[in-house]
């Protein structure tokens, strides 16, 4: 099964958070799971904040890139199209909000679950929760904004 990010054109595959071609980056892979989108990610030892816990910037990055990918996938779904059909739909982050509810433990696989709240013509609103060991450690909200087609190289 291909991840949302596997459908991104090459020019959109260099992102530190979600680009499959960024060898230094996180290379997250997002999938549908029922009506929610899911990404799993195991932070490495460098992603520390206070000893034993994950730093907030990684959590923000995971939520950001996962929700932007979810936004694109949701718009394709709404249009009844596969993600490899033209015209390509790509989104960027308009705004990102993260609430840190509990310290996120380092050393376990994290799961971010996205829920599409609203799909508009040029914007998609996605909510997310980040779990570690099944416990919600952070929640997020992303407004993803569709890129003009002129900015998307084929």
């Amino acid at each position: 099964m291909k991840a949302f990010q596997d459908y991104y054109a090459e020019d959109f595959s260099h992102c530190y958070g979600c680009g499959r071609l960024n060898e230094h980056g996180l290379q997250i892979k997002s999938y549908w799971e029922g009506e929610e989108s899911v990404v799993k990610f195991l932070p490495d030892a460098s992603h520390i904040s206070i000893p034993g816990f994950v730093y907030g910037g990684l959590i923000a990055s995971l939520i950001d890139c996962h929700c932007v990918g979810t936004a694109a996938a949701a718009k394709y779904l709404e249009e009844g199209r596969d993600m490899d059909t033209e015209p390509a739909l790509r989104y960027v982050t308009g705004s990102l909000k993260v609430n840190f509810l509990a310290p996120t433990p380092l050393g376990v696989e994290l799961e971010v679950r996205g829920k599409v709240i609203e799909v508009k013509e040029r914007k998609v609103l996605v909510e997310a929760k980040l779990l570690a060991n099944g416990k919600i450690c952070a929640t997020g909200e992303v407004v993803a904004v569709r890129l003009p087609e002129t900015m998307i190289s084929k």
Copy 2:
């Protein structure tokens, strides 16, 4: 002149965003400049989103760690104390909001300027703007929450 982060105790100096001891991390250095706090950071080539631009997760990380450092510095200032005096004041992120106003160009030094909005007993609210080439590309808002003293090792 020592940066805010240079005063952090060793246990608080491993953070990927702001820890001086994290050799893989960003190692940001924040300073007062008048009533604002300032950090300058030059992203590297891997911090890309779309070719030519910085990915949102880095922007979120810079705003997050800079504002949390600013929160601690502001509380010391309010108490009329130097940052190397006891009891140590350390903050973590309660919430982070980032508005991406314009694409942030890759290849130039970024500047994040923080402004302390409110210093309460256990929380500090800090607003930030991120500039590239003198233009505001993002704004942010961080609620920093003071760590209980029991969590701060000396």
